[in-house]
Symmetry: C2
Subunit: 195 residues, 2 copies
């Protein structure tokens, strides 16, 4: 498993008056967090990646599955706003997901230009698997922290978002949670996952 391991050559340390090393890392305050974010995020997305490979899908498909799962009946435009990619890019993965029977796209009833996006049961299962996998990693990480850490982490992540988008992001999350709770789909079918 390819250890992250730099064999610092002896002459690169204090003894060498090496000028080419000049201007190198002044240990700026946040360097540790910068690198940890890189390593952590890489591992974080690698979990779904492994599963996706089995379907011939990639990260782009994961994102679509996730957000359609969270916002059933959303418009294509809404998805484009969230993902911030072009409709051509989205079109490709969306077509593959529809062809594969993971996503269902139906014309809106009030506005029939719209294609409203839903997951099929197959797609929903996959999307829930991904949430489960990544939640597991997050839960494990939080378990290694002090009890109040979750709120700190949450606030930190919100504040890492561009300020002008923070409110929208929080609202988006809240609305999806709300919709899911209020039986966004089929009042009879138990969401079965309280908490």
């Amino acid at each position: 498993m390819a250890d992250i391991n730099v064999s610092q050559p002896p002459h690169a340390n204090a003894a060498d008056p090496d000028p080419a090393a000049a201007g190198a890392a002044v240990p700026r305050p946040q360097t540790d967090l910068i690198e940890l974010l890189f390593f952590a995020y890489r591992n974080f997305v690698s979990d779904p990646d492994k599963v996706l490979q089995g379907f011939g899908f990639g990260r782009a498909h994961h994102r679509v599955l996730h957000f359609v799962n969270r916002h059933p009946g959303m418009r294509v435009t809404d998805l484009l706003d969230i993902l911030r990619i072009t409709k051509q890019s989205l079109g490709r993965v969306l077509r593959e997901l529809v062809d594969g029977g993971f996503v269902d796209s139906r014309a809106g009833s009030s506005d029939r230009r719209q294609r409203l996006l839903y997951l099929t049961p197959k797609g929903a299962t996959l999307a829930r698997d991904f949430v489960a996998i990544q939640s597991q990693r997050i839960e494990r990480a939080l378990a290694a922290c002090s009890p109040g850490a979750r709120e700190d982490v949450r606030r930190f992540l919100v504040a890492m978002i561009d300020p002008e988008d923070q409110a929208a992001a929080e609202k988006l999350i809240a609305r999806a949670d709300q919709a899911a709770l209020s039986g966004g789909q089929r009042p009879g079918k138990a969401p079965a996952r309280p908490r």
Copy 2:
């Protein structure tokens, strides 16, 4: 600026007996953090992206600049272990960085098969710019949190890494900090680039 804004169509809520929407978003515990990580990380890497565009470079170049800056004199193999990409992928961006005068690659003195990587002053300036930009975002985010949050966030990020890599990642960060402190280069001095 493309508000993240899903217009939840009315019929997507309780009224629609839609079977395709079945099994949709159960509000799993960590969904908020999953999505926040996505939004936060996207913005986090977008800062350097903008600067890199001006040089015709991409994210891959950023990573190389960053880690060579942090570990002056590192071997190509070390960089491959950190980035976990193939040498062919690295080779491309490395060549461009050397050609552009951002990275300097010199044969090792003890083992002359090795190419030891250093940043030129030009490269070091760019690398430091990136650290500054991203540190600024992190500092702003931390300022929005409780005082003890930094330690929580740090521990959280470490724990988000694959367990078998956590120690190596922390060691890597510590070693780079250490090397920088022990005068790999004199602080504050913009050294000429001899040799």
